[in-house]
């Protein structure tokens, strides 16, 4: 009898563990960069399905991470040479997102354990992937720290502790402010449901950020038809110069 009961309880636990699931949506799935784009707020909201109401259980937490298109980045350090400050050492970071925001219900270190962070690469430090700096550089970690510091200043990297509101252990929402200096591409949005730092459920989706209209046209022309684009730029410049000259001459007479 006892083994059977234990088996049922384990089964129930795993059932209910599986049942604890996160569903989410956001205010918009596309961000259009138009000529007068000056940033955008994205509201991410959702609910926890089948939240267990056991007095003995620790409360649930939600961690949300948005990551822009990633690519290699070179971080350089200035040093004084012959009296002037010049770029000397450099570290190539293999993959750094162009934008990264991580929001959580509590402090990130407390809502997500170190092991889970390593596994899912959620924190800012983990989102940046660097294989290894050249040997002659003494403190390569200084370079990744500098990268985070500089991007944070530009609001391109954001660590938003205590910014996800979780209502009644079932409804959550947060607003993430996308700055104006966005690079276009797919912004991967990951939502983790955690309990005592362990990931219980996760969900991934993406926001499509792209240039539209005139922005799209100019960007495509510049990259696909650089010669025509260059000539067009010159035609604009020359006609503007001619127009200004003609207009002011007309004014004088």
């Amino acid at each position: 009898m006892r083994p059977f009961l234990i088996a049922v309880m384990v089964l129930l636990c795993s059932f209910s563990a599986r049942a604890e699931e996160v569903v989410a949506d956001m205010s918009s799935r596309t961000v259009e960069i138009t000529a007068n784009f000056d940033g955008s707020d994205i509201l991410i909201y959702g609910a926890i399905k089948g939240a267990k109401e056991d007095a003995g259980l620790a409360p649930l937490d939600v961690v949300i991470a948005i990551s822009g298109p990633a690519g290699p980045v070179t971080v350089r350090k200035k040093e004084k040479r012959l009296g002037i400050w010049v770029n000397r050492e450099s570290v190539k970071v293999n993959r750094a997102p162009s934008f990264y925001a991580v929001a959580s219900t509590g402090k990130l270190e407390e809502t997500l354990s170190h092991i889970e962070d390593v596994r899912f690469q959620v924190s800012l430090e983990r989102a940046i992937y660097s294989v290894g700096a050249p040997e002659e550089i003494e403190h390569p970690e200084d370079f990744t720290e500098a990268l985070i510091r500089i991007q944070k200043k530009k609001n391109l990297y954001q660590q938003l502790d205590n910014s996800v509101s979780l209502l009644d252990q079932s409804l959550f929402s947060t607003t993430i402010d996308l700055p104006a200096n966005l690079v276009e591409g797919a912004y991967v949005t990951r939502i983790y449901l955690t309990r005592e730092g362990e990931v219980v459920s996760k969900l991934a989706t993406f926001i499509d950020v792209r240039k539209v209209g005139l922005e799209r046209w100019i960007f495509d022309l510049a990259h696909d038809q650089p010669l025509i684009y260059g000539i067009l730029s010159l035609v604009i410049a020359i006609s503007a110069g001619w127009l200004a000259s003609a207009f002011f001459r007309y004014l004088r007479f």
Binding site: K78, N181, A222
Partner: protein, 305 residues
């Protein structure tokens, strides 16, 4: 009103750009310089990536020089033949400069090179102009003698002589080609027309009469900066059309206003003011190189952009 620049991929205030274009336009109209040496550092300052600032500024200079050269053509103060010779050197120089720029960009030293060029040239030219105008002002109070310019130096000893009727010169084509080459390289690296270097070079090295110097330099600048724009557009994809249009609109209007202000001031006063301005920009840039920056680290360009 914020505007998102499609190539620079930054968002800036459109009125700020129009205003910058206008102010630099006023100054360039007053002093008869392209204004690139002021605009490019200002663009760095408001957060436009240096590569985009340099390439786009070349495009803007085409507009302001074209507007200026039309006036000079009507006054027949353009030496087309000399301009063409300078241009041959200039085009070769610009092609070299763009390649040099791309190579240095890879090494992460482009900022340093551009800034060093600025400090060096602005310092030398600004200083020379300042002392020369001071002397001129002192001279105009007492009696003055015209400095002897038409010396028979190296310029006359070289082969491949050519007659430049508008300038009234019969000299070898080698010095103008070298001057053009040098200015072309600078134009590509610094994002300037190079008028502030070419004008003194034409007067003091080639011995051209002052009245044809500005027009001829503008004529040559149009083609060199036009070519630079094309080169940057095709090799670095860094010309931002939206940015250029805003700067051009502000610039051409400002230039016309500046010309009117300039007409009311005396030549020496103008030159002193210009030299002070040049020295101030030089001083600011030099300070940035000498003082320990608050952020030692910088993020380089992304690969494959």
């Amino acid at each position: 009103m914020q505007i998102y620049l499609p190539i620079a991929e930054v968002s800036v205030n459109a009125f700020l750009l129009l205003g910058l274009g206008g102010i630099v336009g006023i100054l360039s109209g007053m002093f008869g310089v392209g204004g690139g040496f002021l605009m490019t550092p200002l663009l760095f300052f408001i957060g436009i990536p240096p590569a985009v600032a340099v390439a786009t500024e070349a495009n803007q200079i085409v507009a302001s020089s074209f507007s200026g050269v039309l006036a000079h053509l009507r006054r027949k103060s353009v030496d087309l033949r000399m301009g063409t010779v300078l241009l041959i050197g200039g085009l070769v120089g610009a092609a070299v400069g763009v390649q040099l720029f791309a190579a240095l960009r890879e090494m992460g030293q482009v900022d340093l090179l551009v800034k060093l060029c600025y400090v060096l040239f602005l310092g030398v030219i600004g200083g020379l102009m300042f002392f020369e105008s001071l002397k001129a002002i002192r001279r105009s109070k007492g009696d003055y003698t015209v400095p002897q310019r038409k010396k028979h130096g190296l310029v006359h000893a070289l082969p491949f002589k050519m007659k430049f009727r508008t300038s009234g010169l019969y000299i070898s084509v080698i010095p103008p080609i070298l001057v053009g080459l040098f200015v072309g390289i600078l134009a590509a690296i610094m994002g300037v027309g190079g008028g502030f270097i070419m004008v003194p070079a034409m007067i003091y090295l080639l011995g051209m009469p002052t009245k044809v110097v500005v027009g001829t330099s503008l004529f040559q600048i149009i083609f060199v900066t036009g070519f630079t724009t094309l080169m940057h557009a095709t090799t670095n994809y860094t010309v931002d059309m939206a940015l250029a249009v805003l700067l051009i609109v502000g610039g051409v209007v400002g230039a016309q206003i500046g010309t009117r202000i300039g007409a009311r001031l005396q030549a020496e006063q103008l030159r002193i003011l210009l030299s002070i301005m040049v020295l101030a920009v030089c001083f600011k840039l030099a300070l940035d190189l000498l003082i320990m920056p608050s952020e030692l680290y910088s993020i380089g360009e992304k690969g494959g952009h």
